[in-house]
Symmetry: C2
Subunit: 112 residues, 2 copies
DNA sequence: ATTATATTTGTCAAATATTGACAAGTCTAA
DNA sequence: TTAGACTTGTCAATATTTGACAAATATAAT
């Protein structure tokens, strides 16, 4: 199981027989910095997730799952958060979704 | 159910009959900025979580749960992440914990 | 061993983002 | 109408992140 997003990118890259320089060019960044990203010494920039999906013909959703789960896991681990945090987060997402309904949908009044 | 960390602080503050100025002083920040925090226009600074726990005699762990779950929920909502993200995050936390064992504990070799 | 290519590491200025602080505004209740 | 509580806007100071480059190391082929 791959943990870090860096390792995930490295796996994708090597499996596709690309060098740092090649992938870096496609992602429009410096190969030295991509190296740091793969080695967990820099963060991958959120704004490049789409490019990454394109380069490897992956679903953006899957890349996002990989990216954000990694972000959350690191935060939880670093800050010694309880696992409950994730459960509460789930509730809150559901709350946000119910509150702020997508455009075009009918929003019924709820209590409060 | 309170969603935002700002609302959470406001609830604590009003329940304890404090003014913005009073709480801000205890947290060592400007009351104007605390107002923005409560109204979701600024982020509460992680480094003040402990002070917050002290002021209201709450367990730091509970405050952290509130704080980070809010952070995660917002990210997921804003970026339209799949709910799976949270499950994957949980797996990754467990992986990080098993990999990087706390000091003093014995670490047996695992596969890889 | 020597060259070429790939990767890693260090550094630093520039670009961005966050914060602290203050002034001026609204709102409410006495 | 004054006082206290809260809100909003702004901006310089500070902190963080990023892009870029040079130099070091590693790896592989000849």
């Amino acid at each position: 199981m791959k943990t870090s997003f860096g390792e995930y990118i490295r796996k994708l890259r090597t499996e596709n027989g690309m060098t740092l320089t090649q992938l870096a060019a496609q992602l429009e960044l410096d190969s030295a910095n991509l190296s740091k990203i793969e080695n967990g010494k820099r963060e991958f920039d959120e704004k490049r997730l789409e490019k990454l999906a394109t380069v490897f013909s992956l679903k953006l959703d899957d890349i996002k799952t990989e990216f954000f789960s990694d972000l959350f896991a690191k935060k939880i681990y670093e800050n010694n958060c309880s696992m409950e945090t994730l459960m509460v987060a789930e509730e809150k997402v559901n709350y946000l979704k119910s509150k702020n309904v997508k455009q075009g949908e009918i929003k019924f009044n709820t209590n409060e």
